[in-house]
């Protein structure tokens, strides 16, 4: 392909947003599951 790729900003924003969202959501699920697991372990004792 020769020539400059134009109109890329939308895709750049999409890529960064997807990255941020996926990492954020995954982080939240980890913290939530960890909290559940800790409270379950505490209840057992």
């Amino acid at each position: 392909m020769n020539g400059v790729v134009t109109g890329g900003w939308n895709f750049v924003v999409a890529a960064y947003s997807v990255t941020g969202l996926v990492l954020l959501i995954y982080g939240v699920t980890i913290i939530t599951r960890l909290r559940d697991e800790i409270s379950r372990a505490a209840k057992e004792r």
Binding site: G3, G7, V12, A15, T19, G27, E44
Partner: protein
Amino acid sequence: MKRNLFWLAIALLAAAVYFGLLVTIGDQYLHADLSLGLPVVARTLVAFLGGLAAVVILLIADDFSNLSRPKALGIAGVVFLLIGSYFGLFVAPPEQFMGETQRIMYVHVPTAWFALVAMTLAFAAAVVFLFGGNHEWDARLEASIEVGVVLAFLLCCQGAIWAKPTWGVWWDWDPRLTTTAVLLFAFLGILALRKFVDDPHRRAMWSAVATIIAYVDVPIVYFSVKWWNSLHQQQSSPNTVSKPFWIPLRANAFGILLLMMAFIMLRSRITALRLKHELAPPPALDEAELGEAV
């Protein structure tokens, strides 16, 4: 012992950040030579090896007891990602042929590196478990696989978003991305396997075996897809990053490294807690188990 190892890892990371990132920032923006006499190649090597060594040591040294350490790593990771993304979006100039879409590389390339690192950590954990039988390594295995799956999924999304404006299609069968997709399915399968096996010893053993088998396949899949594709397309790889673009790339790389480690460490704690519960039989069940075996 473990506490000292943690700080050793931090020291290695600091050295990696210094030689890998700060020297380049000093060079480009402060016009100051912070390199302490080390040539470029050596600096890159220190950054690379120091970062990897720090990752390995953090994994080994983690005894699942502390929550504030992984959280601190996570916050540091987010900070690096914000800095890297700022540089990548607003400071770095657009590239000659790729235009603005070059900026996607500043998140895509680090994600690629650490998806592979996470899978490699999973492989290492599987091997260590097979030799030692220590269930701590099973916890680390499950965590690394899950984090690796998330990063691989993210990689495929980023790859598609990059491919559309560049090649006009959402998927262009690039060997690296296609291998990642295959890897994604392979490791998702292993996570599914874990859900269906109730006995913790068996679950650990089988996941370790499956992980080793899947990981050994990665280079084979890569080469076969490369040959399969080479007959049809001759494209440039979406990868080459030249010097003025190092800062956002490396800042994001450190960001993802720290975030990945934070995720793996926190996720292993979840599995470790579950295993503690599963491996310690409640007294009331013992008789029933004996009856079963006879």
